[in-house]
C-alpha cells in the first residue's frame, strides 16, 4: 500500500506553471496582508540606500515581514496542505516519508522570504524529475496534483 502511494505521488508532481501561478497568487496575498501594512515605515527608506534611526527599525521591520511570510506558508500548509494559491489549482503538499510534519513544512518553506536563496532553491527544480525544489528534497516533500492520495 505504501509503495503504491509513493508510486502515485512520484508520478503526479504538480506542473511548473501551476506552481508558478500559485506562488504568484501567494506573493500577491502576502503583499496585501503583510507588506502593505508596513508600507508607511518602508517608504521612509530608499530601496537601494537606506537611512535608519539608531533603533534599527528597518532591520526589525524586515525581520517581521520575513517571519509573517514564513507563517503564511507554514500555517496554511500545516492546516490544509495548501496555500491559497495552491487551492486555486488543487495542488497539495505531500510527504515522501510518513505523515507531513510541521518540521518538514518549516524546512520546505524556509527559503521563501529570501529571494536570492529562493531562486537557487527553485532553480534546482529544473534538474529534478519530480519538480522538487532543493529544500523540498531536504524536507522529503513535494507538491502533487489533486487525486493523489495524501497521508
Amino acid at each position: 500500500m505504501v509503495k503504491n502511494l509513493q508510486y502515485k505521488i512520484k508520478n503526479h508532481p504538480a506542473s511548473y506553471w501551476k506552481r508558478f501561478v500559485a506562488y504568484m497568487i501567494d506573493v500577491f496575498i502576502i503583499y496585501l496582508i503583510i507588506v502593505i501594512p508596513f508600507g508607511d515605515h518602508l517608504k521612509k527608506f530608499d530601496n537601494t540606500f537606506t537611512f535608519l534611526q539608531a533603533d534599527k527599525s528597518l532591520f526589525f521591520i524586515s525581520l517581521i515581514i520575513v517571519l509573517l511570510t514564513l507563517l503564511y506558508f507554514v500555517i496554511l500548509e500545516f492546516k490544509y496542505k495548501q496555500t491559497i494559491g495552491k487551492m486555486f489549482f488543487d495542488i497539495y503538499v505531500a510527504s515522501e516519508k510518513g505523515d507531513l510534519s510541521l518540521q518538514q513544512i518549516i524546512l520546505r518553506n524556509i527559503t521563501k522570504p529570501f529571494s536570492i536563496v529562493f531562486i537557487i532553491d527553485v532553480a534546482y527544480m529544473l534538474f529534478k524529475r519530480n519538480n522538487q525544489r532543493l529544500f523540498e528534497v531536504f524536507s522529503n516533500t513535494l507538491v502533487v496534483e489533486k487525486g493523489v492520495a495524501l497521508k
Binding site: 540606500f49 537611512f51 535608519l52 521591520i61 517581521i64
Partner: protein, 302 residues
C-alpha cells in the same frame, strides 16, 4: 467548515498581526522623538550618486541625492530642532558638493558642522554653509581650490604601437580623452573652466562665512589649514567635537534635555542578503570596468 473560509480566516489573522505590529512601530519611537538634535554623518568622497551598500561593502561615500533628501526630511520634521553635520570628507564632485551646501543653506533651523579628521575642499564647502563650524585644532580644513586630472596614456600607447583613431563632430568633443596628448588650446579651455568653478567656490565660501571676497581669495590657494590655523583665519568658529557642538546647540535652542539622534546609513536585511547574490557580484564587476573607463577621463573635483 469550508477550507476556503477557514484559510481566509488565517489570512485575516496574519493581516491583523501585521497591522498590530505596524502600529506598535509607530508608537515605539521609530519616529524621531520630540525636541531632537539630529546628527548627520557625512563621511567619504562626495558624489551625486553612489552604489548600494552591502554587507561586503558598507561604505559608499556621500551621495548628494540621498543627503539632500534626508536634509529635506529633517527640515520638515517638527520634532527635529537642530541639525549637526559631522564631516570627515576630502571633498568630491563639484555639483554634488554645491547641491548639499545649497540644501544646508535652505534649512530653517539651527545647523552646525563638526569637522573630524578632514573637512577639506568640497567637505569644507558644505561646512561653510552651516551656521557654525567646529573642528579639532588638528583637523584638516580649507583646501579651497579645484583639481582636475587624468592619466594620459598617449606616450604608453605610442610605445606599444597603438594608435588613437579620432572620430568627432566637434573640435573639442574628445577634450580630456586619456588617449591623446593635450593641445595648448584645450589645456587653456580646461583651465578657464576650472578657474570659473574656483571663483564660484570662493564666492560661496565668502558669502557663507561672511568674509571679504579678497580675503577668501588669498586663502584659496588649495592649501589645507589645520583647525588651529583655520580658527585664526576665521574659516572655523570653535574648537570641539560632536559633544561640544551638541552642548552649544542645546544652549542655543534652550533645550537642555534635547534628545540626540544619529541618522545612520545602514543596510536593510534584504539588501544584506542581496549583497551576496550573483546579480550584485556581476553588477559590481561591470561597474568596476565602466568606472575604470570613466575615472581615466578628465574630472573636476573640489
Amino acid at each position: 467548515m469550508n477550507k476556503w473560509v477557514s484559510a481566509f480566516g488565517w489570512v485575516l489573522f496574519l493581516l491583523i498581526i501585521a497591522l498590530i505590529l505596524s502600529a506598535l512601530f509607530v508608537n515605539s519611537g521609530n519616529s524621531i522623538s520630540d525636541n531632537s538634535i539630529a546628527i548627520v554623518p557625512l563621511y567619504g568622497v562626495i558624489t551625486s550618486q553612489v552604489g548600494s551598500p552591502t554587507f561586503l561593502n558598507p561604505s559608499t561615500g556621500i551621495s548628494s541625492t540621498y543627503i539632500i533628501k534626508k536634509i529635506d526630511e529633517l527640515n520638515k520634521d517638527e520634532n527635529v530642532k537642530g541639525i549637526i553635520f559631522e564631516i570627515d570628507s576630502p571633498g568630491g564632485e563639484v555639483v554634488a558638493s554645491q547641491e548639499i551646501a545649497d540644501a544646508v543653506k535652505k534649512l530653517n533651523k539651527p545647523n552646525y558642522a563638526v569637522i573630524r579628521s578632514t573637512g577639506a575642499s568640497g567637505g569644507y564647502w558644505i561646512a561653510s554653509a552651516t551656521d557654525k563650524i567646529f573642528a579639532s585644532p588638528m583637523s584638516i580644513t580649507g583646501s579651497i581650490g579645484v583639481i582636475g586630472s587624468y592619466l594620459e596614456f598617449s606616450g604608453l600607447m605610442e610605445k606599444y604601437g597603438i594608435d588613437y583613431e579620432r572620430f568627432v563632430t566637434g573640435k573639442y568633443k574628445d577634450m580630456g580623452s586619456p588617449f591623446k596628448d593635450v593641445p595648448e588650446d584645450e589645456r587653456n579651455l580646461l583651465q578657464n573652466k576650472m578657474n570659473k568653478i574656483h571663483d564660484y567656490f570662493v564666492e560661496q565660501v565668502s558669502i557663507n562665512r561672511n568674509l571679504e571676497l579678497s580675503k577668501v581669495n588669498k586663502l584659496a590657494t588649495g592649501e589645507f589649514y589645520l583647525g588651529s590655523e583655520a580658527k585664526e583665519l576665521q574659516l572655523i568658529d570653535e574648537f570641539g567635537n560632536r559633544e561640544v557642538a551638541v552642548e552649544f546647540m542645546k544652549k542655543e535652542l534652550n533645550l537642555e534635555d534635547a534628545n540626540v539622534i544619529e541618522i545612520q546609513r545602514e543596510v536593510s536585511l534584504f539588501e544584506l542578503i542581496g549583497g551576496f547574490g550573483a546579480y550584485h557580484f556581476g553588477k559590481g564587476f561591470a561597474n568596476e570596468l565602466i568606472k575604470f573607463e570613466l575615472e581615466n577621463k578628465f574630472k573636476i573635483n573640489v
